[in-house]
Structure formats: C-alpha cells, structure tokens
C-alpha cells in the first residue's frame, strides 16, 4: 500500500498569493527527508527555500523552474510509505550545502550551477531565506564576469509577468540590469525590437551583447556593479542613478496601463472647441447664492456633458468580456475621475453618476478629489468604473492620448482652457478654447460611434442649452 502526500506551495511570507519556482532540488525517484529543501521560490518579498513536511520518495513533480505558482498549488507528490527515515541531526546541521546537491530537475531544465565555494555554515543555516538568497546573489555576481546562462534568466517576478503579458520570451531579452538581470526596460526594448521587426533572437553563446543593440556598450557587463552589497540600497555606487523598487500605486498603475494598452486597441479622436459659453455658465453658478457652498469647476460641466452624450450613445458605456466572448453594456455610469495624488495616479469613480444633477456631480467630484489627495480613497471607490475623465488641462496641457482604465471602453481627456483667436461670424475674436481627446476601445466601438460621442460632448460644452434638449 502506498500513501501519497502532496506538498503544496504555502504562503512563504505574510499574505503573499503566488511565487515563482527558481530552483528545483528534487526529481522523481529521489528520497527526501522531513525538512529537506525541495525547491526555491522567489516572491515579491524574498527568495525562500521550501522544506518538505514529510519524508519519502518523490513520485511526481508538478512544477518546473520558471513556473509562477499560486499559493495552494501542488509542488510535488511524495510516497511516504517505506520512504526515507527522518533526517539524522548531522545531515540537518549542514542542510544548506549538503542536502540539495542540485539534482537535474528535468532534462530541459538543468539546475542552477552548484556553488562549491559556499562557506562552511553553522548549525541549521539551511532553512533560512538568507541561505537561498545568498547563493542566488552569488550566481548573479558570477554572471557579471561570464555570460548570463541562457537556461536560467534572472528577472524579478513583475518583469517576468510583464514579459509574459507581452508575449516576450525572457531568454530572448538582452539583460542590462545589475548582475545580468533582465529589467522592465529591457523587456520594453525587446518589445520595441519585436514591433520594429529587428531580430530579438537570443545572443549567441559567448557574445553578451548582439551587434544590433546600440544602447548597450560592449563593456557594460563588466562595468556593471551590483548594488546588492551596499548596506543602503537606492543610490547606486557611482551615485549617478537611484533605484527604487516598483511597488504600490506605481506598480498597480503600470500593470493597469500595460494590460490596457496591450489588450484594447486604442483609437483617439480630438476636437478643439469653444468653451466660452461653458466658462460663462461656470462663472454664473459661482456667483449665485444657491451654489455658494459648492466648488464648481469646468470639469463638472464636462462630466455632465459626457453623461448627456452617453445617454445619446449608450453603446459606448460597455466593456469587453474576453472570457465569456460577450460585450457587456452597462445601464449605469460609474464615472471615473483620474486624480494625481501624492502616492501616484488613482481613478476613483462616482457611482451611478447618470442619476446625479450638475450640482451633485460638482459636489461628488470635489469630495472625491479631496479624499484622493488626502490618500484616503477606499479601494471600492476605484472599482467597477464604466467610463473615465482625465483632466490633463490642470497641468496646462492642450491635449494627449489617454490610455483606457482597464475594463472600460472610453476615456475622455480634457485639455487646458486657453484664450485663443477664434472665428465667429467671419470675425476673429478671442474665445476660451480647449481641446478634447477621446480614446476608445476599437474592438467594440467603431470610429463613427466614437466620433459621434465626442461631437455630442463638444456640442453640449459649446452650447450648454443642448444639455436641456438632450439631457
């Protein structure tokens, strides 16, 4: 009789959900003891060796080096009957270097080079994350002098994810990061090369930098210094750059932008409009007693104009459900307002904005901006948006090509309102002019529909009374 126990990936930190397999230390047929290290994983936080909780014979390996694995996923199966005895203390003492004599994990995936020059460790250093990381760093240093081993590309998990999202094979990417690691920029450069049709083939062995990479001088590999040994990371040793880990809002922004930019084919249409009537309306509202407690801005009127235009073109308020192969038309508008906060860009939305009066909209926008600037935007406020406005006009900019908030199909960009010469009834007169830019997902919105939406928005802003007619 056999008893098969599955060893699963546990949360190796606090609240982590996934990890990447960076080294496998056992193969089918191997005998493992309790607490013997079976693999090395890297998470967003650290590199960690994982000890088996049972002893026995490995009967299946479910993962390969390079796999990104969810917490709870099966790593290996162990037959615990007639298997290995419990480890004897002396083996345990030197766990870091003895046990994991790197086993050929699978034929395609040779294990990492063995580090013979590890210092003699003290009792039980094996189960510490440091042991893993130390070996790993050593590998990186070695590759400064040699070539990056093609079978073991070094890159941080977010970079791996980016490469996977973009369909770029990491092995094909020219690595310029510290210790021969592939950086985000390297992946983007590879993407550029792929788009422009330049070869992105792997560098031939012995040639670290292929000829067609002008951005990388030939001696870059040698001059690259790892900053890992410095007590305080950040500024690099030559003090010419500062390296900041990508995380938090920056990380989420980047992921959202990459996923949006590379899944939804964007089209942007522009229109320059006369905002004079809208600005007059804003001035009148500001002056009125009824509105004295409300911060009324042109943005509130633009929001109202967009809502009116959506009412006339409801097909734009939709999203693309790739998995279900369906287009989801929304009967409500959760209007996102992109906000620059001290922590970065966030897009909270006003729930059911289509039900709000202009005054309620103005109040909601100023509330939302205040909350966002204070860094107190609740997570729920950024979810389930249906359409977004981004006001780059506040930076004095005329126009731009906004990227869709993921899951949405339209984003309206509002430029700065400036006095410009304008022709009215054959006369050149100064008017308050602004550009609108509307990006849409061309999978579900055709050019005609997108243009109609922008034209309707423009109409309401140029002639606010149209809001009365259509609203």
């Amino acid at each position: 009789m056999t008893t098969i126990v599955t060893v699963r990936l546990t949360d190796p930190g606090e609240g982590l959900t996934e990890a990447e397999i960076t080294d496998l230390k056992v193969a089918v047929g191997d005998t493992v003891a309790i607490n013997q290290m079976i693999c090395e994983v890297e998470t967003a936080k650290s590199a960690v060796e994982l000890p088996s909780h049972v002893g026995g014979t490995v009967v299946a390996v479910h993962v390969a080096v390079g796999d990104e694995v969810e917490v709870g996923a099966a790593l290996i199966d162990i037959d615990t009957d007639g298997g290995a005895p419990e480890p004897d203390p002396s083996a345990r003492e030197a766990a870091a270097e003895v046990a994991p004599a790197p086993v050929e994990a699978t034929e395609e995936q040779p294990a990492a080079p063995k580090q013979d020059d590890e210092p003699k460790n003290l009792v039980g250093y094996g189960s510490r994350p440091a042991a893993a990381r130390r070996r790993r760093r050593h590998t990186a240093q070695e590759s400064d002098e040699q070539q990056v081993p093609l079978d073991r590309v070094l890159a941080k998990p977010p970079v791996r994810k980016l490469a996977r999202d973009l369909g770029i094979a990491l092995a094909d990417v020219l690595a310029t990061g510290p210790g021969g690691t592939v950086t985000r920029e390297d992946v983007m450069a590879a993407q550029q090369r792929a788009i422009s049709g330049t070869s992105a083939a792997p560098a031939p062995a012995g040639e670290y930098f292929p000829d067609e990479s002008p951005q990388a001088p030939a001696d870059l590999g040698a001059s690259m210094k790892s900053t890992r040994d410095q007590a305080f990371p950040g500024v690099t040793s030559d003090e010419r750059t500062t390296r900041v880990p990508i995380r938090s809002v920056r990380k989420r922004t980047a992921e959202a932008m990459v996923s949006s930019a590379f899944t939804a084919p964007h089209v942007t249409v522009f229109n320059e409009i006369d905002m004079t009537a809208t600005m007059d309306l804003v001035a009148r509202l500001k002056a009125s007693r009824e509105w004295k407690d409300v911060h009324v801005s042109p943005l509130a009127v633009v929001a109202k104009a967009l809502l009116v235009a959506i009412r006339r073109n409801p097909e734009v308020n939709a999203s693309w459900d790739e998995e279900a192969q369906e287009i989801v038309y929304k009967h409500f508008v959760n209007l996102g307002i992109a906000a620059a906060t001290p922590r970065g860009l966030i897009v909270p939305n006003i729930k059911d904005a289509h039900l709000l009066t202009l005054r309620e909209l103005a109040e909601a926008i100023s509330d939302l901006a205040r909350t966002a600037r204070a860094g107190r935007t609740p997570l729920g406020a950024t979810r389930e948006g249906t359409i977004t406005i981004t006001n780059f006009g506040v930076f004095g900019i005329d126009s731009g090509t906004p990227i869709l908030n993921p899951g949405e199909s339209v984003i309206l960009g509002m430029g700065a309102v400036k006095e410009k010469p304008w022709i009215v009834d054959g006369q050149i007169v100064p008017r308050k002019v602004a550009q609108l830019a509307l990006s849409f997902d061309h999978r579900l919105i055709d050019g005609a529909l997108g243009s109609e939406l922008l034209r309707d928005v423009s109409q309401v802003l140029e002639h606010p009374e149209m809001g009365l007619v259509w609203g």
Partner: protein, 385 residues
C-alpha cells in the same frame, strides 16, 4: 575646550566588553565575575550547552514549520542563545521577566515549553503559559512596552516590601528584555527616568543583535548602548552576548543588586541576529555578507563546546546525544503542529471577561449566525478529508 561636553569618549567599539569565553573557547579569569560562577559544576555547564542546542533545534524547526504553512510567522533567535540562556539562568524563581517576542532561550530557561511559543506564532493562543506561575509575562509584540511594564511591576514590588529584606526567598527583581531597536523607543527613556528616580528593583537587559530589522545600531545610537543609561545614573555594562558564562555572571550581579535595593542596572549584551528579522524578512537585501561570516565565527554554542572540550567536560558522545535530543524535540514539534486541528473560531469570545457580558454575548451570537452560513461548505470539506 568647549563648554559643551559629550559623553562620546571614543568610537562605540571602544566601550569595554566583559568576556569570559573567547570565540576559540579560551576561558579568561575575571576577579569580579569568577566568584559569582565558582559554584558551577561540569554538570551545570553541560546543561547550558544542552539548553542552547535544544532551543536552536526548536528555532530551526519553527522556521521550517512556517515555510510549510504551519505558523503565520516566526521570529528566529538564532545566534542569541548565549545571551538568552545566560540571563535565563541568572534569575531566581521569584524574579519576574518581561519579554519581547524573540526570547525563546529565556523562555526555555524559565521552564516554558517551546510548543507554547509555536502555538502563539500559529495564532491559536495569546500566551500558552501561566505568567504568574512561571513568573514570565506573555510575549509582547509591541516593542517598547516591555520597559514601562517592568518598571511599574518593580515599583509594585517595592510597595510590597519585597526588596532589600535580605531574605533570598523574598527579595525580587524584574528583568526587562528588549533589543537594540527598541532602545530607540521613547518608553525606554521614560522607564530609565522612573527606574532611576524610584531606585526600582529592575534590570534592563538589551540584546544588541545589531539590526533593528534593516537599520543597524550604528544609525540608531551615537554612543554604545551601554553608555546610554549612565546619563540617568543607572550603572551599566557591555557584555559579550555570545558568551553564556559572562551573561550569566553579569546578570546575577545586576539582579542581586536590584533585589538588595541598590536600584536599577542596565546590561547591553552584544550579540548578533544570525537569521532574518522574521520569516518575512530577507536580510541579504541590506546586510553585508562579510559581517554575517564574521559573526558566524563567534557562535555561542560552538564557543561553549570548544571550552568544554578543552577542559574535558564533554566528549563526542555527549554532543551527539544533545544533537539527537534536539532533533527529537524538533520532530515532536513538527508532528504535533502538523496534526494540530484548527481551533473553534468561537474561542475568540472566551477570556474577554471573567463573567458573562451582554455585549460579548450579542457579538458571539452574531458571529454564530455568520459561521452558520459556512456549515454546508465545512461539511463538504469534511467529506473530502
């Protein structure tokens, strides 16, 4: 010379450090400390060695258990066994200890089962031992809280008249345990003030393991930590924290002084956190490898083993037996934790009040309703198991 004076006499490393056992095991005689240790037998010394081996085995097993998903977190005390076993054995049973969350060796010496520590890190108990019976406060996660509690307790002992009576069974001292990072907390300074003003029977014991997560002690203090308390008029010493005998000796002298009514003492035990801050930390991101190697050569266990071997107090059979016993302890912890059922979540509501309480009853009832939603699911899962 400026009218401004500083207590910084020299670089921090120039603060003299009391050491009895050199890293190579050589025993240095010491006029003041030797008499304190004179009664120790070979049996006692072998006991200290066994203690350190056992607690290290438990510590390593706990780290493995965290990696196996059995503990939420583990704060390793690897490398600090000498400082902890030394001070643990310096006390008398009536002394009261106020620990942080990284005092596994101290807990061992106070008679606390390692399993109870693991249960806390598994998140199923707040404190598995009786703090009054074992005279050891629950592990305190909040750093800085140790010293005001300890000083307050010591002032209470003064009011009970259990200081300076000359009766060894009666006189009591309090030991406040904290680390170098905690020494930067305001509470520690306030505690120094109160302890000095009231001449409370408290010993402050800092294990300076040199890293407050990723911040080195050199960033936190311009002077050696041992010098800090002198500004309050609290006598202090820096001791080699990887030297179990020196820690034991200075601990005894300090606790004796406190019990005798001579006021507080401060001990800086200079040691090294060999492992990560916790299982969530990766020290290779901020700590030079050369430093780790330097301290690996000063290991407290290896040091005592060398010393005992030189004086023929131990042989290989003994060290092997210790290793095996440590391994048995580790496997006991391993199997016990892996077999441990999840507690009933309703236990959360126990121990809030000694008597029934209407608000707790109401919240418990609401929670019962909430849990009832999952009963079907739970039964399904039972079936799968």
């Amino acid at each position: 010379m400026s009218v401004f004076r500083t207590t910084i006499p020299a670089p921090p490393q120039d603060e003299p450090m009391v050491q009895l056992l050199a890293p190579d095991g050589t025993r240095t005689p010491h006029d003041e400390l030797d008499p304190v240790l004179a009664h120790l037998t070979g049996e006692d010394l072998r006991g200290f060695y066994r203690d350190m081996v056992m607690i290290r085995a438990a510590d390593l097993e706990a780290t493995a258990l965290q990696r196996q998903g059995q503990l939420g977190l583990w704060a390793s005390a690897l490398g600090q066994e000498g400082a902890q076993i030394g001070i643990g054995h310096a006390s008398r049973p009536q002394d009261y200890f106020v620990p942080t969350y990284r005092e596994h060796g101290v807990a061992w010496a106070r008679g606390i089962e390692p399993m109870t520590l693991l249960e806390m890190f598994r998140g199923i108990s707040h404190c598995g031992w009786d703090p009054h019976e074992l005279r050891t406060h629950p592990y305190m996660i909040v750093l800085g809280a140790q010293t005001p509690h300890a000083v307050g307790y010591a002032m209470g002992i003064q009011r009970d008249g259990a200081v300076g009576t000359g009766d060894v069974e009666t006189d009591t001292a309090v030991l406040a345990l904290f680390g170098d990072g905690t020494s930067s907390e305001g509470e520690v300074s306030e505690s120094f003030t109160f302890a000095a003003s009231f001449q409370a029977p408290v010993v402050f014991y800092t294990q300076n393991n040199q890293w407050a997560i990723s911040v080195p002690t050199s960033v936190q203090s311009r002077v050696p930590l041992a010098q800090r308390s002198r500004g309050w008029g609290i006598p202090s010493v820096r001791v080699d924290g990887n030297d179990v005998l020196a820690c034991l000796a200075v601990g005894r002298i300090a606790l004796d002084a406190a019990r005798a009514g001579e006021g507080p003492r401060f001990i800086e035990a200079l040691t090294y956190r060999m492992a990560a801050h916790t299982t969530s930390d990766d020290p290779t991101r901020y700590r030079p490898r050369a430093e780790e190697e330097e301290w690996a050569a000063k290991d407290p266990i290896a040091r005592l083993r060398l010393h005992l071997a030189q004086s023929d107090e131990i042989d290989e059979a003994f060290t092997t037996a210790c290793d095996e016993e440590g391994h048995e302890l580790a496997m006991r912890l391993h199997h016990h934790i892996h077999a441990m059922p999840d507690p009933d979540p309703r236990e959360l509501f126990e121990h809030v009040y000694a008597e029934p309480h209407p608000l707790v009853a109401e919240e418990r009832a609401a929670y019962d309703d909430y849990l009832a939603q999952f009963e079907d699911e739970a039964q399904d899962q039972e079936g799968v198991r």
